[in-house]
Symmetry: D4
Subunit: 149 residues, 8 copies
């Protein structure tokens, strides 16, 4: 059994690398959005032409990024949604809602301080973790039945 796992959300820390490294002996195929912040913001205008208006600048980029995001979410067995300490991160919550409506298994990864604000997102999740290592342990258990310790 190969698991397709999509790693959605925060792009300012190395949580993806921690999970991918921790799971390197497991039969997992990981996918992610483009995590280079500038590329992600500017991809639309860089390819399809400049916009004077910031709204359309952003819109073109968000639409191009959606090609990758939708593919990643549609193919996933498990969607891990990471909320970091800062920023609005509405894209992460949007991905969680999208994944929920598709019936995907959702793991939310967030610091404890966000617990109350994320309660509706948690209600759609099968697991809520605080550390990337816990996500790895879940993937290991799901694939092999092995528990930590």
């Amino acid at each position: 059994m190969t698991l397709n796992v999509y790693l959605s959300g925060e792009i300012h820390s190395d949580w993806r690398e921690q999970i991918i490294e921790g799971a390197k002996d497991l039969d997992v195929s990981f996918h992610s959005p483009v995590t280079d912040h500038d590329s992600s913001d500017d991809c639309g205008v860089a390819i399809l032409g400049q916009e004077d208006n910031k709204y359309w600048h952003d819109h073109k980029g968000a639409m191009v990024n959606a090609i990758r995001t939708r593919k990643g979410l549609a193919d996933a067995d498990v969607v891990v949604v990471r909320f970091g300490e800062k920023y609005k991160q509405w894209n992460a919550a949007f991905d969680a809602g999208y994944a929920a409506a598709l019936g995907k298994s959702i793991i939310v990864l967030n610091p404890p301080a966000h617990q109350h604000a994320l309660k509706e997102v948690h209600a759609a999740a099968l697991a809520v973790a605080e550390e990337p290592s816990q996500v790895v342990e879940i993937l290991r258990y799901v694939l092999t039945g092995s528990l930590p310790g």
Copy 2:
């Protein structure tokens, strides 16, 4: 043609009342989450029993609220998602993602300051408005073909 419209998101201002009042001559059926903040937070434990742990207190409430939210989203033709000035509002973005995956027509209503942070949500919307009156004008146009002014 009756339109089913679900009004998702911010519960601290009277934007829902403005839209419902403005559209009172139109063939629209509006639905919303429970907008009483305390009831929404406490419904789970009030009905199903207290919890010592704040996480499970919140969880029980979010699950009960999901019965209403899912029904409202599933039945909707149009989902209006309102982002206010404050708070994380991840439930609003979650609803937007959920509605997008179901193929619902989405109208986002937000102050201009949130434009960049909402770009992925906007990319899934058919309209982005700043004022409740614009939402009314869209509903009026969709149902009757009449434009303002």
Copy 3:
């Protein structure tokens, strides 16, 4: 908002009547399986002809009952699944699984003693209640926002 509620499971106590009576002022449309035990067991052979073999006697009846059950589950917004004190009640758990795969909102109603054995069913539910009155309170809250007390 009218809620379609299917009342699945145990047929040996008056829990359905308690819920229907308690919710009589609410905009709910209730549906149930045939709850007469003998009719439910014998409907197949009574209409379609006797069987010598007990397996086919039961099979014919279960198939005819499935016409009603499938309709009830397919039309439901909320499925309440009741587990009583006795018997195997595999039909109740089957209905819960069926409803879960259809994405229905599930409320499980069971005595505390069954908690561990029902944990997989509970994991698919939005609420777990012990008393019919709690189901009524959930329906009232979902439809009106009112909480008990």
Copy 4:
């Protein structure tokens, strides 16, 4: 033609091993839940943190196990559901209902004594067997057209 077969239900006897051994020359890919009883019960708290309350202890584990179960059921062509002599086994009946709503081909494997209690589950099955060897014979016939004897 490769068949994906999910082996759901009882974890206290070697029925899975008998089927896998018997079908080892066939083009079948078998999947199962985690069948170590203690790991299955404790996986949630072992990875995501202890709970004082037994309900939430169980809930966390059932949710983590659901990641594997959902994947197994979603990918399956055939779902074999085994009911043993003992216990409530509501998870088996739940899986059967879930598989039925997804339109999967279901084979039920149970001792004759459970016949009446399983009639609604049998009504959703394409085959009802008493011995693991019969399941192997069905898989062999479906894949190769060969019958026993």
Copy 5:
């Protein structure tokens, strides 16, 4: 509970009238194909223009009739498929397969002589009847719980 019932198949006897008359006190909405044989054969060319080639004459008619058939099947809760004594009746078997793939509850009505030839169709049905009165009894039981006699 209103049942939508589509009456598919043989158009040379009064079985539809018998069922509709027998069920006139029940909350059932019946739909059928056009049962006038000549109209059904010629509707395409009568409206859309003559064809020299018999194949296209038939094709145009079958396509126009499909507008009604698809609507009837899509809206149905229960599909009754009647096979008479004579003719190929491939349209009846086609409707049964179409209904099966949509997950509709199927009742097959046929003379005993056709039993072996219909075994694959029967395998997708929830009831197999020989007389229209049995179909009425099933509808009565499904809607009211009452059995004959």
Copy 6:
């Protein structure tokens, strides 16, 4: 049986009025896009604010119109797609493709000169007509079984 019919395509002749008038004694509910050309082009900027760039001017309008179009197509049993003599009419062909993927019954209404260019669209249709009166005759036949003349 009420038929929901969506009238898509050309807005420069009175074909919709002819069909609606001709079918006024039938149980049909008709829906259409906004057929005022200027309103349809300008609705986006009239409600949501001016755009300097013609592309975004058009885009905003097309998105708002999509709210009505999607609702009309999603609710339809039958989609009539009219191609007139002039213009590109890609929106009509787009609606036909959209309707085809949803499994809707499609009637194409076009002048004979367009036959070759529309062959892929015709291949997805259940009827191809040249006159609005033929569409009325199809609706009459589908609903009542009556043929012209």
Copy 7:
């Protein structure tokens, strides 16, 4: 591009072998029902135990065969349905209806004499052929763009 092709229907002539031989240089994966008549009739009782009643004998077999048929139809891109000269062949028409509801591309293969009786099945097909060699030519064209001659 690999095409999955399911070959449904008549089992008394070598039409399947002709198609498979003719397409042996193409990227096609063929699947079929079990075509040994006796095995197909008796598989249920041979594996799951004898039945006194011919109906249940047939039923058990049809159900076991359905495991293979459903898999073949669900995985298919193209379903070829063959009607021979003789017999009722309702299983072939049933498969055609099932495939149509799943949106599969259908090719019907039948002698000209059956044209009128098959008109509803033809109305759901993308091609109607009289010879196995024509089916091969269609598969070749679809995969390579090459036409005969």
Copy 8:
């Protein structure tokens, strides 16, 4: 991550070759309709027999081509729809609508002169390009995160 890309539309210029050549180092699987104009027009009658009537000549061909088109669209992650300078190109707009209803990511490729006429098609797209090289750049970015320049 492999992307399945279907290249729909205009067959009179080498835009497909430009995209395939430009993307030859990327993990993309391209599919297209048959682009030989005569073969595409005549495939139906060449294989299935001549027709006197031009409408049925075209119809037979369009139906056979639909086998390939539907497979290509159903399997695609991304659908590129090219509109050239000339012709009606209703098949391209039809494919765009079909892809939109399936929820595919759509890239439209057209000369600027068609902008207004394509506004409803653009409203369903995630990117609108003028040059094949821009499509390549989008595919490169989606797969690797690399931007041009």
